[in-house]
């Protein structure tokens, strides 16, 4: 039996006291595993990650129900820097690097010192960053920013790495390489990863487990290999049904009815 590093139970998050973004979300992240969280736009994936990594008071977001347990601690409502110091590091969807700082300063910002993750090691994973060292991070390309963001996150000595949209705005070939690299890094460093992705195929390919969200709820979950071959999941989230014939709108409506709600 594996240890559970992160457990989310019946999570409900409300923005600005009125807008409920997720409702009754439950998920488990076993120690040392890669868990993918996929789903359509606005499904609540980002909100779930943000609730785990903590909101700033200025964001006016609140966990109104449920529990988040990290290790054996309940961490509802902790501030982001407290979670970061406890080893929960988020690579956010947008604004993931400090654009006005150089690449070097971005890395220094994060470096906590000690531990086995050194600057050399991070630059070994992302050799491109060495060439860009003195450049302002704001002028990096999307893929380079993503590499820098992951490098920064690693230097914060994560135990649990939360990544929001690794593939955002990247070319398919880059996504494949980056996914493979992430898999390698997590195995080498013994990291636990919770990965949010639009590109469900790419994420489930490296993940051990997967959760599918829609409309603020978890609608499917299971082993990644099972999700990939699940006909409903293929139909709705992996782009394209198992069979090749075009479906009429009525058939799709039927699939909608068949879906079960979890949590």
């Amino acid at each position: 039996m594996t240890d559970i590093l992160l457990q989310v139970r019946q999570l409900e998050v409300v923005y600005h006291r009125v807008a409920t973004a997720v409702q009754g979300v439950s998920l488990e992240v076993p120690k040392g595993s890669i868990v993918a969280l996929v789903g359509t736009n606005g499904a609540g994936k980002t909100t779930t990650l943000r609730a785990i990594s903590g909101f700033l008071p200025s964001e006016d977001a609140e966990i109104t129900d449920g529990d988040i347990t990290y290790g054996d601690r309940r961490i509802n409502g902790q501030l982001p820097h407290q979670m970061a110091r406890a080893g929960v590091i988020l690579v956010p969807e947008r604004d993931k690097v400090f654009g006005t700082l150089s690449v070097e300063d971005n890395l220094e910002f994060a470096a906590r010192g000690g531990g086995e993750i050194t600057l050399e090691r991070v630059l070994g994973y992302f050799p491109l960053l060495t060439q860009r060292k003195s450049q302002l991070a704001g002028y990096l390309s999307g893929g380079e920013k993503q590499m820098l963001a992951i490098g920064m996150a690693l230097l914060c000595r994560p135990t649990l790495l939360l990544i929001d949209e690794l593939s955002l705005g990247l070319a398919p070939i880059v996504i494949k390489d980056l996914m493979a690299l992430l898999h390698r890094i997590s195995k080498e460093l013994g990291l636990t990863v919770l990965l949010v992705e639009q590109n469900a195929n790419a994420a489930l390919a490296i993940a051990d487990f997967g959760y599918v969200m829609e409309g603020g709820r978890v609608v499917f979950y299971g082993k990644a290999s099972e999700l990939i071959s699940h006909p409903d999941v293929r139909e709705f989230y992996l782009g394209g049904a198992a069979q090749s014939e075009t479906k009429s709108y009525r058939d799709i409506k039927q699939y909608r009815r068949k879906r079960r709600w979890w949590g």
């Binding site: 990594s53 903590g54 700033l56 008071p57 200025s58 964001e59 006016d60 501030l79 982001p80 820097h81 979670m83 970061a84 110091r85 590091i89 988020l90 956010p92 604004d95 993931k96 690097v97 400090f98 654009g99 006005t100 700082l101 300063d105 971005n106 220094e108 910002f109 994060a110 470096a111 906590r112 920064m152 914060c156």
Partner: protein, 288 residues
């Protein structure tokens, strides 16, 4: 020569104030309207701490001003500014105006609005070529101001805390997600800004006098910051120089009673021609 010395020293006084205004703006997007009051109260604290120690050592008044800055900075941020998250920006500005009024009353109550000049007990003057006189106080003003700016530069450029400070100013959420306590950094911004203001107040109190009227140096400092661009430390120095020149020339060539009005006029001119200041970034304006 005389005029050059006067302008340089006025520039120092205003640049220190403007630097604090810029730091506060960059770190927390707040424009502090109590900066002149903080400077003058810092000067009074320096003076009183000097009296208490019997005027024997400079360490005591310096420590007094530093302690004042730390306590005041932490208090203003933790007790007031921090609670204003999510409020419109003008609420924070109004709060700083309120702080200014309270500090001015404090000058009346504690120091009875006594008009006094800080005398650190050094020989008043040395002669310069060209007939100008410079006091040690003047020389100390320049040295301390240059040291302050050099220290600030080194801090922001080469220390990890300085890098974290700059990052927090850009994106507080990401800074927090990378393990930086944003409240600590923003308190520190207030402490540094008030420290600079107190130094400015001491320099001003040494050359001119401390009183409830001298809080108007706050307006000159704010103008210097706005002229230079609210988000640029380089601009703060340039702006301070421009304000000092304009003030000196007006007093000399037009009428001394106009000296208080000069910063204000300059402010109006800059705001109508180049609202983002000389060194500022244009996009920043949308945020104000």
């Amino acid at each position: 020569m005389e005029f050059a010395a006067t302008i340089v020293i006025l520039t120092c006084t205003y640049a220190l104030l403007a630097a604090g205004t810029v730091i506060l703006y960059k770190a927390g997007r707040v424009v502090n309207f109590a900066h002149g009051e903080l400077a003058i109260v810092g000067g009074y604290v320096f003076y009183s701490a000097g009296l208490m120690s019997g005027g024997t050592s400079l360490w005591f008044p310096v420590a007094g001003a530093v302690v004042f800055s730390i306590i005041m900075g932490m208090f203003i941020y933790m007790a007031m500014m921090r609670r204003l998250v999510g409020e419109p920006f003008y609420v924070a500005i109004l709060v700083t105006v309120g702080i200014g009024i309270v500090l001015k009353s404090a000058i009346l109550v504690i120091w009875r609005a006594e008009r006094l000049t800080i005398d650190v007990g050094v020989t008043p003057a040395i002669r310069m070529a060209g007939g100008a006189t410079l006091s040690y106080m003047d020389i100390a003003s320049v040295v301390l101001t240059v040291a302050f700016f050099a220290g600030l530069y080194l801090f922001f450029r080469f220390t990890r805390l300085g890098v974290q400070f700059r990052g927090t100013a850009e994106n507080a959420l990401l800074a927090s997600q990378r393990g930086v306590d944003v409240n600590f950094v923003l308190s520190l911004a207030w402490v540094i800004a008030i420290l600079a203001a107190s130094l400015s107040g001491v320099l001003y109190g040494g050359r001119a006098f401390l009183s409830t009227e001298s809080v108007t140096i706050g307006l000159a400092g704010l103008t210097a910051a706005l002229v230079g661009g609210l988000d640029s430390l380089r601009g703060a120095v340039a702006g301070a120089f421009i304000v000092a020149c304009a003030q000196y020339l007006t007093v000399r060539l037009v009428d001394p009673v106009l000296s208080e009005a000069v910063p204000f006029l300059l402010l109006v001119i800059v705001m109508s021609i180049r609202p983002w200041g000389l060194f500022g970034t244009q996009e920043e304006l949308d945020r104000v």
